[in-house]
């Protein structure tokens, strides 16, 4: 799976949780879930569950805590997919 495809799937996942839609316009590895998209911190666990379902992987608690940006999520997904 290439980076572009991972990012496009991620964007679809975070869309319903995003409270700042303009943050989605420039969706890239530096996009911060809380600062740029204003996702409610409680909803980050839901994003993680959706990512698990979408990519058929399991994300442990330590990895989840380091998942602050789209780039972090991409790296975690890539590592699990190997």
């Amino acid at each position: 799976m290439n980076e572009k495809e991972i990012l496009s799937r991620l964007k679809k996942i975070v869309e319903p949780y995003t409270q700042r839609p303009e943050g989605l316009r420039d969706f890239n590895v530096n996009t911060d879930f809380i600062n740029d998209l204003q996702i409610n911190s409680a909803n980050l666990v839901d994003v993680v569950l959706d990512v698990e379902d979408e990519f058929n992987i399991e994300i442990d608690n330590d990895s989840m805590e380091g998942m602050l940006t789209v780039g972090d999520a991409k790296t975690i997904i890539e590592n699990k997919l190997v």
Partner: protein
Amino acid sequence: MSKRVVITGMGVASPNAVGLRDFNHALKNMNSGIRFFPELERLNFSCQIAGKPEIPEDLLTEYFTPLQLRGLNSSGIVYGVIAGIDAWKDAGLSIIDGNNPDWDSGIIFGTGILGVDKFREAIHLIDAGKTRRLGSSSVIQTMASGISAYLGGMLGCGNQVTTNSSACTTGTEALLMGFERIKAGKASRMLVGSCSDHGPYIWGGFDAMRILPANFNKEPEHVPGPMSAKASGFVPGSGAGALILEELDSAIARGARIYAEILGGEINSGGQRENGSMTAANNEAVVRCITKAIENSGIHSTDIDAINGHLTATSRDSVEILNWTIALNRKDSNFPYINSLKGLTGHCLSASGSIECVASVLQIWNNYIFGSLNCEEIHPEILELVDEDKIPRNLLEEKINILAKASFGFGDVNAVAIFKRYTA
């Protein structure tokens, strides 16, 4: 001069109608919301009939965001939000968009238990060792105060936002608690009400107690109603009712429509002493609750034109009527008109008090007394106390000035509210 409290908005999600206008119509036409549920038959319930509001999928999107709808599996929250938001809008209040809460508006919205279907999901996941799969919405949909929390966030209320719980007294208690808060000058407006989840996990415990009617599964339209000679138990229901209580000056300043005034009321308990128990009311406590409510309202028992009783369709109905005759010192042809909503909706449990308060106020506002359904033959013990024409079985066009509403609940708890036609 003590503050006066009026009702300026109402909303309802009842088994026989969703929305205030349809509910008013259903009351006047005596439309029943009691239906047969195949699910209850499959689960071997003795009583397979119940009352459940019908909510079309597309209606939900008018009240909840797509995000809120994800994984939403708490019927009490659905009913409570529909009734609460409707009441707010019906009162002509706007929903705050900016960053400042409305510090003068609060919420007391009760429930018996919330989000049982969501809780069941969680139990299955937890027992399978998958707790981490619960997601973020398990807590907010199952905490008792979830309903007031959802409404508080949607409306931006900055005054007290809480949930009360007192079994089938809950809704009427919420109304009186909101009334007292405004009286005390602590809030200008209170959204009060209550909700109850639907489904087998709510109703099962009552079925097990053998207090629900078991012989009308094939003919729910004929199940004997409250005060009927054949009453054999209450039909379980669900839903929500909501009212906006407002300090009179605030209502006048806004130019709000005033449905009725709350004169006062009383909340008490029989302490599960004498003939009171966990499941039965102490008669002395009921009589005291009624007489104190009248006293607190500054009226005389002879001023009461109509009663909306608790009256569930059990053998307790005649005891309730007896308590009313003692408390009011009125009987036979001197007794006020009395009716019960539960023949049309079933007993909506923690939602019953608020739905019935809405029904009571609609009767004052629209000059009628709705008929009690499936009560052609009135219980002989009741006829010994009250003249038959005081129990309308059909719509009665009648101007009501003062109405008394009672709710009684498990735990031997009581609440009585006194509503009056508003006059400046």
